[in-house]
């Protein structure tokens, strides 16, 4: 089986009255890049949270890497989050009080992957690729928005997850650095990591095989 994500008839409501997601069907192959666009409040973040096993859904079926995701057992998916999913949040979500390096390596506290010389070499390579090598020991609180964004991308990519979920990953970047990020995502998808990118800028669609528009709680393939 090559499908990493298979979602069928996913519905989500917070109030019990209005459905934020109303019958979403979504699938993603391993190593595939999907771009999602949509207006503010269209349910993009809710969708990403459900895909990333951060939030539960109300109805529907969801298979992650072939295994069913149960809507009421959200707390038991921390191992999948630790090993298989990397997040790039729109608000960066970095720990401000510690260094770039500490932030990037933080996910390794919670997964089974080894912390060794090759990991540090890999981190250096990624930092170089994203042009933030000089910031390695700097506190995150002292970084600019673009630098934080690239640090967050580095943190998501370093553990080589099965899936990267990126919410506006180039939102705070200039054209040159945006290109660097797009190239890094393409590179990692070639190695088998699937990527879901939310973007408002469709011309930066990251070379996505599929581009979806989220409208009225369901997807439309563009």
């Amino acid at each position: 089986m090559n499908k990493l994500i298979e979602m069928s008839e996913i519905r989500k409501t917070y109030t019990g009255k209005r459905y934020v997601l109303d019958g979403v069907d979504f699938s993603l192959e391993k190593g595939e890049i999907a771009a999602i666009t949509g207006e503010s409040g269209s349910g993009k973040s809710t969708f990403l949270n459900i895909v990333g096993l951060l939030d539960s859904f109300t109805e529907g079926t969801y298979l992650f890497d072939g295994a069913p995701v149960y809507k009421n057992r959200l707390n038991s998916y921390y191992k999948q989050r630790a090993a298989d999913i990397g997040f790039v949040f729109q608000a960066y979500c970095l720990i401000e009080s510690i260094s770039v390096q500490e932030n990037i390596l933080m996910p390794f506290m919670y997964n089974d992957k080894p912390v060794n010389k090759s990991l540090y070499a890999q981190m250096d390579e990624l930092l170089n690729e994203l042009n933030i090598t000089a910031l390695k020991d700097k506190k995150v609180a002292l970084l600019s928005g673009g630098e934080k964004q690239r640090t967050a991308i580095c943190r998501a990519m370093i553990k080589k997850p099965k899936l990267i979920i990126a919410d506006e990953p180039t939102g705070n970047l200039d054209e040159k650095n945006a290109e660097l990020v797009i190239s890094a995502f393409k590179k990692i998808s070639d190695l088998g990591t699937s990527v879901i990118v939310v973007t408002h800028n469709l011309h930066l669609s990251f070379g996505a095989e599929k581009v979806y528009a989220l409208e009225k709680g369901s997807f439309r393939l563009c």
């Binding site: 921390y78 979500c93 970095l94 500490e102």
Partner: protein, 442 residues
């Protein structure tokens, strides 16, 4: 694997110190509770250990009988219950001057001797301290002890301690020198007692024994008096030991107060004696002639009871302090959780379980508590050490820090337990924060 564990804990240790305000507030809370505890333990333990040491060093199977009145009745009563009196000690009720030397202008140092008459040639000598009249197993520094010949021939010989020797024969050995009771000694000037010339008695010093705890205390008191010379004369008291019959020969008119020290070879005889003496004391009490019986066990038991009461008081104060500081630490941890909601969300998003979050908050608090507690204990210890020096040098009070490592480990354990309990509820609260809510938190 070890590398991974080291990485995990290094990160948590880093996190425990990144928030300076939390670090300071938590440290202050733990420090207040923990510092007073070892300080109290060190002071009380040292005080009682010193006293227990004095009592503990007294001769085994020895009982002291004392009565403020009616000596003949005591003698009669005791003669009924003992056939032999291994050590009998009689103390003069008044001190006798043995030395008077000018130390500053018109100020004189007058050394008063309390004479103890002894009946046996063993090394048990009486000392008087706060706990009462104690028989101490003395250590001979030089010379010899009183022999059976001295007792039989009523030789005018005496034994003194190092403190007395230092006073009456400075810079030379005291053994072989003569002591002039009520008069001059070894060529020193003559002592006067309110202008009246006392009867001069010559006695030869035959031995010097190691200072008792009481002698050390008197040495400090004398140092204080000499450092703060006022107009009046300085007096100090020393102990002199002589054959018992010399007491009545040297001081025929002295009002003699009696203490009797009985020592036995085995516990059976000793317990038998103590039981009978106690019974006799009760009988005599009805006639108004009770006497006190002090045994080593009774003194130790009294001290231990006193120590236990002090400990209870300390524990109560400590518990109150722990509760107060525990509440403050809990508040600080709650504040910290609220401040770190976003971090909790990030960690959960990247795979931290509820247990990881609980463990992180508790571990951070334990790390702070450990370092603060160890610092507080060290500081308390060195403060007490400082107090020991200050008391001896400035106030001339003998206080020796004497506490076991185990007792010092206790406050560290209390600090850790306090940190564990006070951070537990906030940690559970942190672990239960919904990940999507915390990621939205700014």
């Amino acid at each position: 694997m070890l590398r991974k564990i080291a990485f995990y804990f290094r990160h948590l240790m880093l996190m425990s110190s990144v928030n300076k305000i939390r670090l300071i507030l938590t440290s202050a809370g733990i420090f207040v509770a923990v510092f007073l505890f070892p300080a109290g333990i060190i002071v009380s333990e040292s005080y009682y250990n010193e006293r227990l040491k004095i009592v503990g060093e007294t001769a085994e199977y020895t009982a002291v009988i004392s009565s403020p009145e009616n000596n003949n009745d005591i003698k009669e009563s005791l003669s009924e219950i003992v056939s032999q009196t291994p050590v009998k000690d009689i103390v003069t009720s008044d001190n006798v001057p043995v030395l008077s030397v000018p130390v500053h202008g018109s100020t004189y140092l007058t050394v008063m001797a309390r004479f103890h008459g002894i009946t046996r040639t063993n090394m048990i000598l009486p000392i008087i301290c706060d706990e009462g009249y104690l028989p101490e197993k003395a250590q001979l520094v030089e010379g010899r002890f009183i022999s059976s010949n001295d007792l039989a021939e009523n030789s005018p010989v005496v034994i003194i301690d190092e403190f007395t020797a230092e006073l009456i024969c400075p810079d030379e050995s005291a053994v072989g020198k003569s002591i002039e009771i009520g008069g001059k000694t070894g060529g020193s000037s003559t002592a006067q007692d309110n202008g009246e010339e006392m009867q001069k008695i010559q006695a030869q010093i035959i031995g010097v024994v190691k200072n008792s705890y009481v002698s050390e205390q008197r040495r400090l008191s004398l140092k204080r008096d000499l450092d703060n010379i006022a107009e009046s004369n300085i007096f100090t008291e020393v102990s002199v030991y002589c054959p018992i019959n010399m007491i009545s020969e040297w001081f025929p008119d002295s009002a003699v107060q009696s203490f009797f020290i009985y020592s036995f070879d085995n516990s059976k005889d000793y317990e038998d004696f103590a039981d009978k003496a106690e019974y006799m004391s009760l009988l005599n009490a009805k006639k108004g002639g009770a006497f006190d019986i002090s045994t080593r066990e009774a003194l130790i038991s009294d001290l231990e009871k006193e120590l236990s009461n002090t400990k209870s008081l300390l524990n109560f104060i400590m518990t109150v302090l722990c509760v107060i500081s525990g509440i403050s630490i809990m508040s600080v941890t709650f504040f910290s959780v609220k401040e770190r909601i976003s971090e909790i969300g990030i960690r959960k998003a990247f795979g931290a379980s509820k247990v990881d979050i609980v463990f992180q908050f508790i571990f951070e608090m334990l790390i702070i508590a450990f370092f603060v507690s160890v610092t507080a204990v060290c500081l308390a210890y060195y403060c007490c050490k400082g107090a020991e020096i200050y008391l001896a040098e400035k106030l001339f009070i003998s206080f020796k820090v004497n506490v076991s490592l185990y007792k010092l480990a206790l406050p560290v354990a209390v600090g850790l337990i306090e940190a564990l309990f006070s951070s537990f509820v906030p940690s559970i609260y942190a672990a239960n924060i919904k990940v999507t809510d915390s990621l939205r938190f700014e």
